[in-house]
């Protein structure tokens, strides 16, 4: 009886672990995809629609998903004070407050910080070019991440199941 109970617990723990791993991997990918979308919206708003940055960030804070919404809201609030002229550094400082909410690796996080430079550009041609560069870098990471996610999901399922079965056999 105890052994059966123990085996069931092990199975549940294994399943829970697998789900947790998969959720983290998918959240990582979701955040990368969302960032590409918001980067495009920022760039398009600046270069295509002549929107003011304060308005762009306000709009994004209402429409964006977590964890971006809070970040954009804090950016909008800070910009409206008109106290800092170094907007790219302001971006990096505020981003660091939200770093723990993003499930990104270091190189992916670097792109997010680099995106602040887009905001300090004055020329629409440069905004277009810089936006494209950032977008291309994002696309590379997204493809890489999606491929890795698929492989990691498989590996983590196999490993977890194998470990679970081994533990059950040991118990039994």
């Amino acid at each position: 009886m105890l052994k059966t109970f123990g085996a069931v617990l092990i199975l549940l723990a294994t399943a829970g672990f697998i789900c947790c791993m998969i959720r983290q991997l998918r959240e990582h990918d979701r955040q990368l995809l969302l960032w590409k979308e918001y980067l495009w919206k920022l760039q398009n708003g600046m270069e295509g629609w002549n929107s003011l940055l304060t308005e762009l960030f306000e709009e994004l804070s209402h429409t964006a998903e977590a964890p971006f919404a809070e970040f954009f809201e804090e950016m909008a609030e800070n910009l409206k004070k008109y106290e800092r002229s170094d907007i790219d550094r302001l971006w990096c400082e505020i981003a660091k407050n939200y770093q723990k909410q993003f499930m990104w690796r270091r190189d992916e996080w670097e792109i997010f910080l680099d995106s602040g430079k887009l905001l300090s550009l004055h020329d629409k041609e440069m905004i277009l070019k810089e936006g494209k560069l950032l977008s291309d870098r994002m696309s590379f990471f997204i493809q890489k991440a999606q491929k890795e996610t698929r492989e990691r999901e498989k590996v983590s399922i196999y490993l977890s199941l194998s470990a679970g079965i081994m533990l059950i056999l040991l118990l039994v």
């Binding site: 600046m46 270069e47 002549n50 929107s51 003011l52 940055l53 304060t54 910009l79 008109y82 106290e83 002229s85 907007i87 905001l119 550009l121 004055h122 020329d123 629409k124 905004i127």
Partner: protein, 312 residues
Amino acid sequence: MSEQILSVFPIHMREKLKKTLETTRVEELRVRVNRPFVLRTQAQDYFWDIQSGQCITSPGQAYFITEKDISDMLTFLSRYSIYAYEEELKSGYLTLEGGHRVGVAGHVLMENGHVGKMSRITFLNIRIAQEYKGCAEQIYPYLLKHDRMYHTLLLSAAGIGKTTYLRDLIRLLATGDGQHAPLRVGVVDERSEIAAGYMGIPQHDVGIHTDVMDGCSKPCGMLMLLRSMAPQVIAVDELGGEADFLAVEQVLNCGCSILGTIHAADINEMMQKTRLKGWLEQEIFERFIVLEYGEKNCRKISVYDEKLEQLC
């Protein structure tokens, strides 16, 4: 008003400048790189002491503007969005919220004989907007006939207040009063001086029934308003070029009244203008308002009819 102006200055200047603007009636703020900061009042120009926040007459203690100050100011006055003001910068100005105009100067990149870009802005002139509501009340009744406005030209030399009077006339026409019904007025505000549009929203009071074509050339603006906004009056500032007058002809042919301004110190100077001669002979314009300086530097307004007989 002062918050809108203060927010464009660097942080280290704001507190003391706030006290200065509260105590001194400043008309313009002149910012020049590596030169003293200058505040222009009606009486004279002053330098500014950043330590005390006071206006001074000698440049010895004056605050000198740095390159970083100008760079910060451009960031703030464009709301972190200089890219959005490319076209306005080519025209040499920006309009702030509240209708204040900022003239810019610096290094220009020319392209095929036209201004391509302002690549380095190193001089700013912040002109504080002043509205003088009611200044045209005495002449307003002379412009109306039953339910329409006479075709009217407002003349004056530079700097007397043509645009200010034009703005007030637009407001009065579009709002009406107890005796006169309001009219639908379309305004072509090529340089954002009449309505002082900020992001398309007029910052000055131009009346209830007014539509504004902001930043648009006069010929295009007049035709667009005629086609789409059904105006009873079209108001334009500084008629001058051939295309302006061709567009005015179309307005006249469509049964719309025209309210325009031209540079001319008096009626005689107006009659020398070649493009107007034909219209003057045909008595197309029915009212002429002449603005000039009279005794003791006060403004003097005279109204003439189509036969150039003075009405007031």
